[in-house]
């Protein structure tokens, strides 16, 4: 059974429809990438899964249960966690407080210390800056904090919008490695990533979104060798 599913979901902003019947399924413990051109609707898709945008029709299922109508906080409480585009940190709070906020869901509280060590291990920079206000950190540091805050929630499914944005290439490679380790502990990861080549290289499965519709899907290797994908996204 898929841990997260979208069934024929449409959604958008106000009167403007962005998603036109999206169907996808994430298997537990998979690392999946979602790629597509600017404006294809990737962020909208993640927001719709999370409930920041209500699905207009269709269903979102989490662990087999219809969660289409649940507000975002109730989804976070169940382990569906989003690292949003534009980071959305608590800029007036310290790094430490942001991490504590990440651990708001009850299910994550017992693991607080373990998760904290995990993220400080992944991003030693954050440990040095734990008492600094989030809003005063550099763009890259804020991105690290956004990912770290997501991990603090003990996610079952971790969705990351624009993972590599603002991060140095070395760090991006490290981060992919860390995410693979998370995946190996059973966490399902859904990545939206500008760097399509890298995304397809590290993930197990991939969806290509085009103008609000899933155009291509399959194991990442197969998608990477699809001539249309190579032409449109890999510049080959």
């Amino acid at each position: 059974m898929a841990i997260l599913e979208m069934r024929d979901v449409t959604s958008g902003y106000g009167e403007v429809q962005i998603l036109w019947g999206v169907t996808l399924a994430l298997q537990k413990g998979q690392m999946v990438s979602l790629v597509g051109a600017n404006g294809a609707g990737k962020t909208t898709l993640l927001r719709t899964i999370m409930g920041l945008n209500r699905p207009w029709s269709g269903q979102v299922l989490f662990e087999g249960e219809d969660v289409s109508k649940l507000p975002p906080h109730a989804k976070a409480a169940r382990g569906l966690v989003l690292v949003p585009e534009g980071r959305q940190l608590f800029t007036n709070m310290t790094v430490q407080e942001n991490l504590e906020m990440g651990a708001s869901p009850k299910r994550s509280r017992a693991d607080f210390q373990r998760n904290l060590e995990l993220v400080f291990d992944m991003f030693p920079r954050l440990k040095d800056r734990r008492n600094q206000k989030a809003g005063t950190m550099s763009g890259g540091e804020q991105q690290m904090l956004a990912v770290a805050r997501g991990i603090m929630a003990s996610p079952k499914v971790l969705m990351i919008d624009e993972l590599s944005l603002g991060l140095a290439p070395v760090l991006v490679l490290q981060l992919f490695e860390s995410l693979k380790k998370l995946r190996d502990t059973g966490i399902t990861v859904l990545l939206v990533e500008q760097n399509v080549k890298m995304a397809l290289a590290v993930t197990d499965y991939a969806y290509v979104l085009s103008e609000g519709r899933i155009e291509i899907e399959g194991p990442s290797k197969a998608v990477a060798s699809n001539p249309d994908v190579q032409k449109a996204y890999l510049g080959l």
Binding site: H73, A76, A77, Q88, F90
Partner: protein, 285 residues
């Protein structure tokens, strides 16, 4: 000289009480960008709550203040869900109108029940010496209670989980939702706390001054002036703003007719808005 110090002390004591009312206004503004136009009516309800508990039920005045605090909190949460929640994402005019409607309902019902004759809480605890000043004990206690309430709010926001949630929602409501904070409940709690502060302030004022059901209006205006002085959305600034306003109110009579007090207060209000729109203690926006 003594008269000056006496007035200063008098003003400071009063300032704390005004300060917590303004904290209530500014807390609500800071968390949800709502200007609560029922603020004054709730201050008046706080006054009448103490008055009724004390004179009709014979409950000791300061226990009545504590009961009023709890009632204020609950009442605020109810107002939030009935009148504010449905328009919370609408343009600001809608929330202004919604809270104004609440104001009109309270004032209308209140006037028909209590008329507009002045009341007071007949509480005489003598007076105490504070340096050169002799102040009514009730006024000193009112200030101490206000300081306690302000300190309590500060600790609550800083160190408790709900307090942290309130700060998170203030900072970024969407982000708070996605980390698992039930933001609607947090907004209701914040509105309740803001209302509680107004009610407690009214309750304390009632132990010091006479009042009518319409008295809330002038204290609401004070709250706005203080809020702007201290920076809207900055509860600690409100406390200092309260002290400044309290002192203006007690110093003015030394040099000019009392009727000039509101004039000066509003001149200050306009000047601050022009020169430091984020308040005396506010940073850049």
């Amino acid at each position: 000289m003594d008269a000056l110090i006496r007035s200063l002390i008098d003003g400071l004591l009063l300032g704390f009480v005004y300060g917590i009312a303004a904290m209530g206004l500014t807390l609500i503004w800071g968390v949800m960008n709502v200007i609560n136009l029922s603020h004054g009516a709730i201050i008046a309800l706080g006054m009448f709550s103490v008055y009724l508990l004390f004179t009709a039920l014979g409950i000791s005045a300061y226990i009545a203040v504590a009961i009023t605090a709890v009632l204020g909190l609950l009442f605020g949460i109810v107002i939030y869900f009935i009148a504010v929640h449905r328009v919370i994402d609408a343009p600001e005019l809608s929330t202004l109108l919604a809270t104004y409607a609440v104001n009109m309902i309270i004032i209308g019902v209140g006037t028909s029940i209590f008329k507009t004759s002045p009341r007071n809480v007949p509480l005489d605890l003598g007076s105490v010496h504070l340096g050169p000043a002799v102040v009514p004990t009730t006024r000193l206690i009112a200030a101490l209670v206000a300081i306690l309430v302000a300190a309590g709010l500060f600790l609550f926001l800083k160190y408790t989980r709900p307090g942290r949630y309130i700060r998170a929602v203030t900072d970024n409501r969407d982000a708070a939702e996605i980390v698992g904070v039930p933001s609607a409940q947090v907004l209701a709690l914040s509105f309740g706390l803001g209302t509680m502060l107004a009610a407690v302030s009214g309750a304390l004022i009632a132990t010091v001054f006479p009042f009518t059901i319409l008295s809330g209006g002038s204290y609401e205006l004070k709250s706005f002036v203080i809020g702007v002085l201290g920076g809207l959305g900055n509860p600690v600034g409100s406390l200092f703003g309260g002290l400044i306003l309290g002192d203006i109110e007690s110093l003015v009579p030394l040099v000019m007719p009392t009727t000039w007090t509101p004039v000066l207060e509003f001149v200050l209000f306009v000047v601050i808005l022009l020169v430091k729109p984020n308040g005396l203690f506010g940073g850049e926006e």
